[in-house]
């Protein structure tokens, strides 16, 4: 269930837009922050708060990759493997990272649910390759193997602590 604070936040968001329905996207982020991803239950809860059908909310959620309609790890790495990055060796870096995380070709999330690694389309950092986006928030650039390993280690520590 969505917490009362989250519900209230969604109501506040609705008030910010001339057309309350426009708040559906920030509202989905509120729900995602609470559930970690967007299970059907979260979609239904947002729909109820928004006064929309679950289908309307679900279609929005499934359109954007920054909403997780499948379960993800505690941290999500969106790793750019689009053309400029690929030319600069991103594919190899991606494969190496995947191996480091112990993932096989069909897996995106580590067994301990700590990290999810996904291919991403262009993140706009084509001159500082390889580049990745962490948790929909921070862009990391010029990610050498060492830097990647350090990042993963850091995320693991953070995850184990929590």
């Amino acid at each position: 269930m969505l917490s009362e604070t989250a519900k209230q936040k969604i109501q506040e968001l609705k008030a910010r837009y001339p057309n309350a329905r426009s708040a559906v996207m920030p509202a989905l982020y509120v729900a995602q922050a609470e559930y970690g991803w967007l299970p059907q239950e979260a979609i239904d809860a947002v729909a109820a708060e928004m006064g929309m059908t679950s289908t309307e909310v679900g279609s929005v959620a499934s359109f954007y990759t920054m909403y997780h309609v499948k379960p993800v790890g505690a941290h999500v790495i969106d790793f750019c493997t689009d053309l400029p990055c690929a030319l600069a060796g991103a594919d190899a870096a991606f494969a190496r990272l995947r191996e480091r995380l112990g993932l096989d070709a069909h897996q995106e999330t580590t067994a301990d649910d700590a990290i999810t690694l996904r291919h991403a389309p262009c993140l706009g950092g084509c001159d500082k390759v390889p580049t990745l986006l962490l948790d929909n928030q921070a862009q990391y650039q010029n990610m050498t193997d060492e830097k990647l390993d350090a990042l993963v280690a850091q995320l693991r520590v953070a995850h184990d602590k929590s």
């Binding site: 979609i43 239904d44 729909a47 059908t53 679950s54 289908t55 309307e56 909310v57 679900g58 499934s62």
Partner: protein
């Protein structure tokens, strides 16, 4: 009007016309997939690409530049344009047949087919599929993609009990999603994901639960959405599509009954722009199963000793005639006839003729559950919405006022059509004692106190008079009226518990509007029955506003069944001192019940001495009969129905009768002949000819005339040529077909007539002042007499519940889902035990129960119902 040139032909079209539409009258065919004339363009499929040029303008003179031949020089747009989103403008030149356009079409089709399974031989759409047709006509003859490299996806995904989705076949045109959103107003289908992963889906529970879902099957341009009811029961080109009319409610949607081997395989919409456009509700689409039910009565029966025993028609008719004959010539006063209002005009006409002319009795009625509800009938007769009114086309200058109606459950397709009128510029006012679906589209919506309907309407009249907007030229007694109306708007508003401003705005808007239509529904009919002041007030509102006697003006009663209007027109009412249904059930000695089942709603109902029941099924009433006559289903014979807006419509015969069943009119004629009548009707058409002669409003309404535009569908299409109609439906190539004929009301045929207005003081009923009121509503999908035979409908029938306002629920400590006991006034007081549904559709002080569900069937309808106690009878188990 812009002048445009399409394929060398010059045409004037209204500003705002899209190229696809402008091309139709000149005979240029622009293929489309995602475009549909009833929906906003989306530009999703690119099938409609055409070459578009604009005249080159001289910047100095602002005049078109002309070449040496005096022809305007055309600036061709560098790329092809989508005809479904581009609006024509003055001087525009469009080419739809150039090699460039042909190549674009070929490419789009090849592209679509890369991920299409091409399983046409096992696809229900095969034979009426725009993708097939376009490919044959415009597509490449071959593919450069091999099956191995094709995209594969889920083949049979149940989206709902009715609809099966094939994800491979979907071409992502979005028509289904847009229909649910724009037209049905129930956005329960969505597109999930994107790009190659784009999928039609629903996140709702229950999934894709819309009463209009079946329409998406018709408009899907491929076989992605198919009907689980029809799937694999016939190839569409094997079907015989007979023109018929839906028998499930008073909208009278036009349908095709698609039959094969004497079975109805599917029901699809038949276009009638004045009635259902191209839509149907799911109830109408699915209820036909009863016609083939093994439970049908197929032989006549008479009661020998204690059991009903099958006999021949001859014996059965003789049995009845022998029983009646001795009393003939005396008084028929002890005989009474009760007929259902789902029967055709021809049946009802002969039924009343039998009683009035052969049996000498006026004891006739068709409204048994409704006590003697003739309130409102005179309004319709005098001021029914003018001939030519098209409820789907109401726009600027029209105010439509809905009183105590819930079209979503009473007349679903009417709700669909009224939902769009505000977008067309009309003013829609929705007033009821509770929130309804249509209210979400209203320009003004208001919830009045149940029981204060008279005050509500009087408030509108007062507001109109106060603003000096009333017209007295067709009224007798207007001045006296306004003097007698001793209530201010504020007083009326206080009684009705609405704001005085709202009342004033609505009253003034309605009166000032160029055209005004009033639609009243079931709940308002209850109110009219309860208090004569309601009808008097409505009468005054109509007369003093002058909104009657012409197109887009007048009143429409949302009658309950497909031919309730016809039953009134045919004279199925107890005139000249005849007994109404409420009396005949106890006072008559001989009862003839045709297509009605009073015992179902009233288990105490008894055979009054001798009873003839004519029906399709062994109904609760039939089980108590002395004689049972098996009647044909509507699909087994032809006839006419008159819909809620007085449109008389013809339905054809689609099936051979089952067993020995006969059309109702034919049975009545045989009985009349046994009793000595010299009737010689050879067909329902003959009966209709007599109706046309004897009932003035039905003059000239012969079957031949009503059949114009109501013909069988040619089921085999010709590629690119005259497409058969199902293809046109899916392709969106619709022409404005209208059929049927509306009869003219008294005020239309008597332009100089004046009408009395009289003030009647509202009775201050208890509900208007205090207490909790039980609102009796309807569920659309029910376990009604005919619906029970459709399995798909039965999976979607809701459980009975009692709706309670959330504030009341809190005060009464009732949780959502808890079982509650409601005790209400009746003689003797009765109680109901149902789960509570706590939601926002009823206001405080009102509880609502639908009386057509399991366990609520015998709720009193329209009686004065005061709830005396609401209590939790059982807490919900967690």
């Amino acid at each position: 009007m812009p002048k445009v040139t399409i394929d060398g032909k010059i045409i004037d079209v209204p500003a705002g016309t899209l190229i696809v539409e402008a091309a139709k009258p000149v005979g240029s065919h622009i293929p489309v997939f995602c475009y549909h004339p009833k929906m906003a363009p989306a530009g999703m499929c690119r099938m409609c690409l055409v070459q578009v040029g604009m005249p080159k303008m001289d910047p100095a003179t602002k005049q078109p530049v002309v070449d040496e031949n005096g022809q305007p020089v055309i600036n061709w747009m560098p790329k092809l344009q989508t005809g479904c989103t581009t609006v024509v403008s003055e001087g525009m030149v469009v080419h739809t047949t150039t090699p460039q356009v042909a190549e674009a079409r070929r490419s789009i089709l090849e592209f679509l087919l890369t991920s299409h399974p091409l399983d046409c031989p096992v696809c229900d759409k095969g034979g009426e599929c725009p993708l097939q047709d376009h490919t044959l006509h415009y597509g490449p003859g071959n593919t450069r993609f091999y099956v191995e490299s094709k995209f594969h996806n889920d083949k049979a995904v149940p989206l709902s009990p009715l609809i099966m989705l094939d994800r491979e076949r979907c071409i992502q045109c979005g028509r289904c999603v847009r229909f649910q959103d724009e037209i049905a107003g129930e956005p329960s289908l969505g597109l999930a994901d994107r790009g190659r992963g784009l999928e039609v889906t629903t996140f709702d529970d229950p999934p894709f639960n819309s009463n209009f879902s079946g329409n998406t099957i018709d408009i899907c341009p491929v076989g992605a959405l198919t009907s689980r009811d029809f799937r694999f029961t016939a190839r569409v080109f094997e079907l015989n599509d007979y023109p018929s009319v839906c028998q499930q409610c008073a909208v009278g949607c036009n349908v095709y009954l698609g039959t094969r081997d004497n079975l109805i395989r599917r029901v699809t919409p038949r276009q009638n722009e004045a009635v259902n456009e191209v839509w149907l509700c799911d109830k109408g689409r699915l209820e036909h199963h009863y016609a083939h039910s093994p439970e049908r009565v197929t032989t006549p029966m008479i009661r020998a000793e204690s059991d009903l025993t099958p006999v021949s028609w001859y014996e059965a008719l003789n049995f009845v005639a022998n029983r009646i004959r001795p009393t003939l010539g005396e008084s028929g006063k002890s005989m009474a006839g009760l007929a259902g209002d789902r029967l055709a005009n021809e049946d009802l006409y002969l039924f009343q003729k039998l009683f009035r002319e052969i049996l000498g009795s006026n004891n006739l009625d068709h409204r048994f559950g409704w006590s003697q509800w003739n309130a409102g009938d005179a309004l319709v007769k005098n001021f029914g919405a003018g001939v030519g009114t098209n409820l789907g086309e109401l726009g600027k200058g029209v105010t439509a006022l809905l009183l105590g109606a819930d079209p979503q459950t009473e007349q679903p397709v009417l709700r669909l059509r009224l939902s769009k009128i505000t977008r067309q510029g009309a003013t829609l006012v929705v007033a009821n004692g509770r929130a309804t679906k249509l209210a979400q589209y209203a320009s003004h919506k208001t919830i009045y106190r149940y029981g204060a309907e008279a005050y509500f309407v009087l408030g509108l009249v007062r507001a109109m008079i106060d603003a000096g907007l009333h017209k007295s030229d067709k009224a007798n007694g207007a001045t006296e009226y306004s003097a007698a109306l001793n209530l201010t708007v504020a007083e009326c508003a206080a009684k009705a518990e609405v704001s005085a401003d709202t009342l004033k705005t609505i009253g003034e808007t309605f009166a000032a509007s160029e055209n005004g239509i009033i639609l009243f529904g079931r709940e308002f009919m209850y109110a009219m029955q309860r208090d004569p002041a309601v009808e008097a007030a409505l009468n005054a509102l109509l007369i003093l506003s002058g909104h009657f006697g012409r197109k887009n003006n007048g009143v429409i009663a949302l009658y309950p069944r497909s031919n309730s209007m016809g039953a009134l027109d045919m004279g199925m009412t107890p005139t000249d001192g005849g007994m109404p249904a409420s009396e005949m059930l106890t006072k008559a000695k001989l009862l003839y019940v045709m297509g009605a089942d009073p015992a179902r709603e009233n288990p105490a109902f008894k055979n009054p001495g001798f009873m003839i029941v004519q029906d399709l099924f062994m109904t609760a009433t039939a089980q108590k009969a002395d004689v049972v006559f098996p009647a044909s289903a509507w699909a087994e014979r032809d006839g006419t129905f008159t819909n809620t807006e007085r449109r008389v419509q013809y339905f054809a015969r689609a099936l051979e009768p089952l067993g020995q069943a006969r059309p109702d009119w034919a049975i009545i004629q045989e009985l009349a002949q046994q009793l000595g009548a010299k009737w010689t009707y050879a067909s329902a058409g003959d009966v209709m000819n007599e109706i046309a002669q004897r009932i003035p409003t039905y003059a000239k309404m012969t079957h031949a005339r009503l059949q114009v535009n109501a013909r069988r569908r040619a089921s085999v299409q010709t590629v690119g040529g005259d497409a058969a109609e199902p293809v046109q439906m899916a392709l969106g190539e619709l022409i404005g077909v209208v059929s049927g004929a509306q009869w003219a009301t008294f005020s239309e045929t008597n332009a100089d007539a004046k009408f009395d207005v009289k003030f009647v003081q509202p009775a201050d009923s208890a509900q208007a002042t205090a207490g909790v009121y039980l609102a009796v509503t309807r569920a659309l999908l029910d376990c009604g007499a005919l619906a029970q035979y459709s399995e798909i409908i039965q999976t979607r029938v809701p459980d009975a519940s009692v709706e309670i306002n959330s504030h009341d629920a809190e005060a009464w400590e009732i949780a959502n889902g808890a079982r509650v006991r409601i005790t209400f006034e009746s003689k003797p007081p009765r109680a109901l035990e149902l789960p509570a549904r706590v939601d926002g559709s009823v206001p405080p002080g009102v509880v609502a129960v639908a009386n057509n569900l399991d366990g609520t069937m015998n709720l009193p309808m329209g009686a004065q119902v005061q709830v005396t106690q609401v209590q939790v009878s059982q807490a919900i188990a967690d």
